[in-house]
Symmetry: D2
Subunit: 369 residues, 4 copies
C-alpha cells in the first residue's frame, strides 16, 4: 500500500526527511510504502531541482498547493521554525498526517494551536526528535524500565556544538531575538526530548543564560549587540523526584554534536554521548568489586531496530538512519500500531519547559513548569 509524501523545505532537515522517506520501505520492509509525490521550495526552479535530486514527482513554489494535492497523505515540514504553525495547522486541517521538525514554534500560543489542530484532526502529528530513536537510547530506556540500574535519582545532560563559537562570525539571524531565546530553544528541546522519553515530566526549573560574545560585527563592519543567549545552564527537578542539570552551548569549540547524558541510579550509572552514537556505558554495582567498571557497549542487532539495517554488531548506524527509524515509527502510527514518537501533545510540554526556563532566568528563582 502506497502513501503519498509531500515535503516542504529542502535544507538540512529537508534532505534528511527525503532520504528517510526514500529508505524506510526497503530498510524496514514496511507494509505502507511512502511515494515521494510533491516537493515545495521557495521558487519553482529550486523546487524542481530538489524534486529531481530527491526523487519527487511534482514541484511547487507554493506549499499550499502541496497541501491541497490529493495525492499527498503525509506532509513533512522542515522550514524555519516561524512557519511551522501555519503549515502544520493547514496540513492537519486538510486531513494530512504531519511530520514537523522541532521545535514547534517560537511562540507558545502557536505551539498550542498546533497541538489543538492535531487533536482535532485525529491524524498523526509527530515532531522530528530523532535522537530518541537511537537503538542505544531505546536500550537505555529498557534498562531503566526493567530496574537493571535501580531507581534513578539524578541526571545531567549537556548539548554542545561550535557553529557560533568563532567571535569573528558576522552578526546574523541566530543573534537576533526574532530567532528565539538562543541555545534554550535551539538546543534545549533535544535534551528535553530525551528527558520526556526516559524520565517523565519536569516540575520546576531554574536557568542561567549567558552571552559569550556581547556584540558581533555586522556585514557593514558595525558592532551589533547580540540579543540571544548562546549558553544556558539549568537546574531541573522532575515530578518523579529526580534532580538534574541541563547545560547548553552553541559556542563550545570542538564540540560538533555532543549530547552527553549521565544517569545516576541506586544500582548503577549509565552514560551516553551522541558524538559516539553507536555506544553507551553502563556501570552496575554487582560482581567482584575488583572487576567492576564502566562497560562500553557497542550497539548491534540485539539492540532493535539496529538489526533492520545491519545483521552484524558494532558496524555502526549514522545520524540520518535515526531519521529512517523515525519515519518507520510514523508509518507505525499511521497504521494504528504503537509508535515511539513525540507527538504534538508531548512536544507542547517540551516547549512549556523551555519558556519556563527563560522565565526563571529573568526572575532569578525557581519556576514551576
Amino acid at each position: 500500500m502506497e502513501l503519498g509524501v509531500g515535503l516542504i523545505g529542502t535544507g538540512y532537515m529537508g534532505k534528511c526527511h527525503a532520504l528517510a522517506w526514500n529508505a524506510v520501505g526497503p530498510v524496514f520492509g514496511t507494509k505502507i510504502r511512502p511515494r515521494l509525490v510533491h516537493l515545495a521550495d521557495a521558487t519553482d526552479t529550486l523546487a524542481k531541482d530538489h524534486a529531481a535530486a530527491f526523487g519527487f514527482e511534482k514541484a511547487t513554489h507554493n506549499w499550499r498547493d502541496l497541501i491541497a494535492d490529493p495525492d499527498v497523505a503525509i506532509v513533512s515540514i522542515t522550514t524555519p521554525n516561524q512557519f511551522h504553525a501555519e503549515m502544520a495547522v493547514a496540513a492537519l486541517e486538510a486531513g494530512k498526517h504531519v511530520w514537523c521538525e522541532k521545535p514547534m514554534a517560537p511562540a507558545f500560543k502557536d505551539a498550542m494551536r498546533m497541538r489543538d489542530a492535531a487533536n482535532a484532526s485525529g491524524k498523526v502529528a509527530a515532531l522530528g526528535y530523532n535522537y530518541i530513536q537511537n537503538p542505544a537510547i531505546r536500550h537505555i530506556k529498557r534498562l531503566l524500565d526493567d530496574g537493571t540500574i535501580g531507581d534513578v535519582y539524578a541526571i545531567r545532560l549537556e548539548m554542545d556544538e561550535d557553529f557560533l563559537a568563532d567571535p569573528a562570525l558576522l552578526f546574523g539571524h541566530k543573534n537576533q531575538s526574532a530567532s528565539g531565546y538562543g541555545a534554550l530553544d535551539d538546543f534545549g528541546v533535544h535534551p528535553l526530548s530525551l528527558i520526556a522519553t526516559l524520565f517523565g515530566n519536569l516540575e520546576a526549573v531554574m536557568a542561567d543564560l549567558s552571552k559569550p560574545y556581547a556584540a558581533r560585527i555586522d556585514a557593514d563592519g558595525r558592532p551589533q549587540a547580540v540579543e540571544t543567549h548562546d549558553c544556558a545552564n539549568v537546574l531541573i527537578r522532575l515530578k518523579s523526584g529526580i534532580s538534574g542539570t541541563i547545560q547548553l552551548s552553541r559556542t563550545a569549540w570542538g564540540r560538533k554534536g555532543r549530547i552527553a547524558l549521565q544517569i545516576f541510579a541506586s544500582k548503577g550509572t549509565v552514560t551516553y554521548d551522541q558524538e559516539r552514537m553507536n555506544e553507551f556505558q553502563i556501570y552496575i554495582a554487582e560482581g567482584p568489586a575488583a572487576d567492576q567498571g564502566f562497560r562500553t557497549i557497542l550497539t548491534g542487532p540485539v539492540h532493535p531496530p539496529y538489526d533492520r539495517f545491519i545483521p552484524a554488531p558494532g558496524h555502526g548506524l549514522g545520524f540520518n538512519e535515526l531519521k529512517i527509524i523515525e519515519a518507520n515509527e510514523i508509518l507505525n502510527a499511521i497504521d494504528g500500531r504503537p509508535a515511539h514518537l513525540i507527538d504534538f501533545a508531548a512536544g507542547l510540554e517540551i516547549e512549556r519547559a523551555v519558556h519556563a526556563m527563560a522565565h526563571s532566568h529573568k526572575e532569578g528563582h525557581w519556576v514551576s513548569v
Copy 2:
C-alpha cells in the same frame, strides 16, 4: 538517465547493496539514476518476497535470467564466495557492469578469470571494499599524499570480530577448509584493501596462522577437527619499504567490527578504528612540545563526501552509508569519471597476497608476493 540494476543474493550484503542503489540518487543527486529492476534469490518465493521488500520490479530463482534481462545494466553479486566467479564472468560477458562482493573467489585461478573477463569486457568491474570509502580513510589518504605526516615507515593493522569466539558454537561451514583458509581470506582482504589504497603493493609476507579451538562439536554431538585458522599474524614488507603487521581474529571476544590502523611516519602518527568509524587520530610533531598530543578528529562536511549526507560535523555516518558512497563511485566509473574503487585488477593483487600469506605459513619463512 536511468540504469537498471540486478541483484543476485539477498543476505547481509544483498540488502546492503539494495539500500545503496536505492539511496545513492537522492544522496548524491546523481545524473545516472539506478532503477531496481531484477532480483535473484534461491527460490521464486524468496526472490519475490525480497523484491517486494527492497523495491525491485522483477524476481527470479534463476540468476541467469537476471543477467539475460536487457533492462539490467549493472549486476550486484552478493552470493557466497564460491559463486562469484561464474556469475561475474557471465555478467561481464553479457555486457553488464559488475559490483561483486569481496573476496573474488576461493581459488586464485578463478579470481584471474574474473580479472580477465573484466579486462575483455571494457565494463566497470568493482569489488565491495567499502571501508576505503569512509571519509576518514579518504582524509587519511590526503594526509599521506600531501606530506602532512611525512614519510611513512611502519604500519600495523588489526581486524577482529567475535562471531566465532564462543567455543560452544557448533562445527560449521566456516570451520571447514572448503570455506577457505579462515581469517586470512575472510578478514585479511579488508586490511589489504586499506593497504592497497593508502600504501601500495606488498613485496613479501610471513604469516603465522593459528586455531584457538582445535575441535568443535557438530550437530550430532561429535567432535570434529577444525580445519580453518581463525587467527592470523602476518609480518609484511611493502615495495615502498614500509614494514608492518596484519593481525586477524574471528574469535576475539568483545571485538565487533574492529579494523584498527596505526600509521607511523617521520612527522607524525595516524590511528583509526572502524568501531569508531566517524573519527580518527593524528599526532603531528609541531608546535610547543607541551601542547602536542593525539588529536581526535570527528569527520564532517570538510571531509568529503560526508557533506552529501549531512551539512553538520560530528553527526556521524553509518556502515551502510559507506556502501552508498561506493555505489556513487560505481556510477562515476560508469559515467567515465575518476572513481575511487578497487576493481578486479587491483582485487586480484589482494587475493595474490592472501595466497602468499597462506604459503608462508606452511613454509615457515618469508614469501614474495
Copy 3:
C-alpha cells in the same frame, strides 16, 4: 638545613603527609630538609606504632605536646575537620608553620579565626588542596594566562565518587548534619580550589542540593532520616564574567575520583578529568578545519614539576605525588620564595562560597558570595 615536622592525625591524609615529607627532599633536592620529628595520634600505642611505621622520632597521644615541641617547626594537621581550627590556631600561636587539610572548619567563624591567626603569626599557613599541584592543571593555567585559548566565558566542574552510593550502607557520621552540608563542603571545596587557582573569585551562586536516599538503616536496623545532601548542582557566576556550573555527588556509582573540568573560551576548549590525572585535552581553533580535534596531551618533563620525578614523558605521576609537590611549595613559602598554594586567606574565600551555596539552596534564589 633541617626543619622538624610534627604530624597530627594518621588516617588517609596523615599517611599521605608523612610520605610527602619523607619524599620531598630527594625528589626536589630541597635546600630545607624536613625531619620527621613528632607524631600525635589518639592513644600512645597508636602514636608509637604509626611513628615507627612512618619514621617519626617521637610519639604522643597529646597533640599539644607536639605543638609545644621546640624541635617541631612545621605542623601537619590531618584530623577530622572539627578539630582543625583549635589545632591550627594553637600551632600558629606557638610560632609553627601549618599545613592543614581541607576544608578549614565546619563553622565559618572558626575558619575566620584560623585566617586571623595565620595573619597574626606571619607563618606559612597552607591548606591541603593538592589537585591544584598537578602538572596538568599548572599547564592549563599557563594556557589560560598566555592567551592560547583566548578569553574564557564558561566553565563546568563535576566531582563525583561512589563511597556513599550503596543504599544499603548503614546510617553514619556523613549522613548527619554534624558532618556539614554533605557533598557541598565535603567535595565542593576541591572544584572551588581549582576555580580560585584558574579563574578567580565567585560573584554569585545558586545551588540545588538533593538526597538520593532519604533514609538509611542504622546499626540497630532502624531507619534514620539522612540529614546531609549527597548531591549538589550549582549555578555560578564569577567576578570575571564567566558563567558556569559545579555538580557534586558522593553517590555516583562507578565514579572513583572524578573531578571533571571543561573550560570554554574564545579560541578553544580545555578538558580534564582527575581519574586520568596524567593527561588533559585541548582543542584550538586553528589550522586546517579538516585536521582540528581535541588533542589528548600526556604530561611529561615539559610540564614542570613532572621533571623532578621522571625524565621521560607519559610515564605518569600518582595522587600521592601531588602531595609531594605541595610539600615542596610549602618549603618554598617557608624559604620566602613564591609558592603555588592556597593559604588560609584564600581558603576562607572557598569556605565563604560553600556557605553562600547552602544559603542559596535554602532561599531558592541567587546569593552573592
Copy 4:
C-alpha cells in the same frame, strides 16, 4: 631492622631507585628498613652532590669501594648496560644482595655469568622489571589464574615511545651497534617480562627488524649509517600453545610510554595500556548479550598493593611508585618470604629470547628459543 643500601649510577633509574629505597619503609611499614648508605657516581663531586640530594651518607667515584663497604647489604645497579655484569658479579661475590636494572648485559655470556654468580651467592639478585608490579597487571594475573577469562589462546604486545622519532636527531650511541640490537633489547625485554609473568616461556620466534631512518647526521654534519633497528615486529609462539606478536618502536611519534597488551581467551578479553597505567579493560562473555561490553576498571584498594599507598580507589599511582612496590618485593625476598620478582635466572630467559629474535631476523625463518 636496618639494612644498608648502596647505589651505583644516578641517572633516570638511579634517582628512581633512591626514591624507592627512601619511600618503601613508610609506604609498606616494612620490618626491614633500608638505610641509604653509599652512593657511587662518575666523579667524587657528582657522587657527593647526588648523595646530598638523595640522602645517602657516603659518596665515592669508585664503585668498588661501595661494594667493599661493610655497611652496604644491598647494591642497586643503575649504570649503562655494559657495566651491569662486572658490577653485579662483584657485588654478589662480595655477599651483597643485588637489584640491577634491565636488561642484564648486551652479551648473552655476560648475562649467564650474572645468573651463575647469583646462583653461587645465595643472595637476592633481582632485575628492575617494574611494570610487572602494577596492581593492574597483578590483578590481570589473578584473572588468568582463576579462570575468569578462560583459556588464553592469543596475545598481542606493543611497546612504543618516540624519543628517536625525530629524523633530525643527531647520530648517537643508540644508533650504534655497540648499544645492542636497537628496539629489540632496549624495549623488547619489557613485553617479555610481562609474558614471563603472565603466560610462561616462549617456544619459537620470528622477527622482522627495521630502520625508519637509514642514516643520521652526526655532530660534524656528516651522514652516518644507522646500525641499530628502531622497530621490530615479532611473531611468537609460547610453550603453552599461545600465539602472538610483539611490536616495538622507538620512533613512534606521540607514543610516550605505551606498553599495550591484548589478551584473547575462551571466555573473554583483557586489554591494558601502560600510558593509562591505573586502569585496564575486561570483556567477559556472560550476562545479557545486549549489556556486554569492555569494562574499564580503575585500580583501587581492592587491587593490592594499591591499598598501601591510598585507601580510596581511582586516585592513581605513578610510575615511580611501581619501583617502591618492587623495592618491597626485594625486602620480602631478603626476608625469606615469597616475592613477585624477575630474578637473574628468569631474566636470563628473557635475554635468550631477545637473542633468538635477532637471530630469526637474520635467518628469515622461525628460531627456537
